[in-house]
Symmetry: C2
Subunit: 285 residues, 2 copies
């Protein structure tokens, strides 16, 4: 895949800073942050189940297989998936999706105007740190690690629908993981003195330790695994709901619950904490 620049809306920084100073804490608390993250889990499980409907559809991911060659694909050495996501994100950018700092595109855009009705978003992040994101790591993790665990081998030709469902997975994973910025902002506000000294000392390890709660992480991992068993089961109109708790192989579920556990254990939680640390290191800029 081609290298992608980090999204850095530098031109907006002055305006954001002003908005931030005016209302730095509107609505943001440990409770609202936790509620948001918990609700995102459902969206993540739904999107993984939807992607798992389709086979791997490998031609969509290899530049060699790109269409009739009339388009820009061969010149860019890009896959169908990458071109589709670029074009879809461009439409969404024009539609104002990235006016909300909760949303970060995988490809950077400069659009001269947005079609969307105007809206005055609350700016809850510290402007100089708001750009922090790990979309490159998410992109690579999704296509190289997660997708082969999600999708069965096969090719049914439904490349657009398949890659559209990849985009849905990528978008919610990006929003969930990069929400670490909001988590860090809330934690910083809750103990400014401790965080300030660690940030000034650039003490990455102590920051990571302070942000880590293994007990809480364990609750989250068990909960997402349970969501995968409940949302991925087969439901009949009359029979008992099959919770699938006795099934350890995962074969009766639309997406293997152990894969969802692994997603959180190995990637979502560590990457979120990486975002938190990076955000904090820019929190006093």
């Amino acid at each position: 895949m081609a290298a992608r620049a980090i999204y850095a809306p530098l031109v907006c920084t002055a305006a954001l800073l002003l908005a931030f100073v005016v209302s730095p804490s509107a609505g943001l608390s440990l409770d609202t942050v936790r509620e948001f993250l918990t609700r995102e889990e459902d969206t993540i499980v739904f999107s993984l189940i939807e992607r798992a409907r389709y086979p791997l559809n490998r031609p969509a991911y290899d530049p060699i297989h790109l269409g009739d060659g009339a388009g820009p694909g061969r010149r860019l050495n890009a896959s169908f998936a990458e071109l589709f996501i670029r074009e879809s994100e461009a439409v969404q950018s024009k539609a104002g999706r990235y006016q909300s700092l909760q949303e970060i595109p995988f490809f950077a855009y400069r659009v001269p105007f947005t079609l969307a009705p105007p809206y005055n978003f609350t700016r809850e992040l510290y402007p100089a740190a708001a750009f922090v994101n790990v979309n490159d790591a998410i992109w690579s993790m999704y296509f190289n690690e997660l997708l082969p665990l999600l999708a069965k081998n096969g090719d049914d030709g439904n490349y657009a629908v398949t890659v559209d469902s990849d985009l849905a997975c990528l978008q919610v994973l990006s929003r969930r993981i990069n929400y670490g910025r909001y988590v860090a902002e809330v934690k910083f506000r809750g103990d400014q003195q401790t965080y300030t000294s660690l940030i000034q000392a650039k003490d990455r390890d102590s920051l990571m330790k302070l942000l880590t709660s293994e007990a809480q992480e364990d609750v989250v991992k068990r909960r997402i695994e349970k969501k995968a068993t409940v949302f991925g089961q087969s439901i009949t109109s009359d029979g008992p709901i099959k919770t699938g708790v006795n099934n350890s192989s995962g074969t009766n579920f639309k997406v293997d619950p152990s894969v969802v556990y692994k997603l959180y254990d190995q990637w979502v939680i560590p990457l979120t904490k990486q975002v938190e640390v990076e955000y904090l290191l820019h929190r006093l800029d």
Copy 2:
């Protein structure tokens, strides 16, 4: 909303007819059709739950509120939602989504080429009847009837994400309802003599009667309602799964199960049968 033309790929009819004659029944049976429709229910419930995350966001649906006026919106007298869906469908069309007859766009497109890797789709529908769809009725039902039941009043400014979730709902409802073409094809093949005489007599009422099984429809409606209770519940990591069966108000669920029941009872099932009848009336063309 502006009127939209029915998608009629007339130029392709000859090629489709040839492909149909070569393999008229590959893989299509009452079992595969039922399996497809049952699986679509999960996708429908997921997409409704996702739309219900966002408030109504009324400015997205009213041409008066359209952006900065620099775009084509005011000239077309279209809403932000309509423009967003048009542009998204154009990208998906270029990406080959509508090469599969299972997918029908809400707006007609003529794209000179597709970016997608080539794939030789099986043509299971009778070409002269394959164009049948009720997308106009689905569009109107979704925005005028269903959406006000799904989304709470409010405006959080996330118009692009909201309308993107509308598009996901519209796409799966369109695919599910217009799959009536496949249902009708299977039923026609199962009893060609009876159907042929009714089709030749243009006996719409008897066709509708022959296609109706109230017992089967009742199973489907109860099953989709149950899926809404299971997929829309709140899951904790340890506590028992709250199935919500004792809750009749629907307030504890992410989308009210009775709304999902009503969706199937009043719109999905009747519109599907309308598609079946229209398809059959063109089955001997």
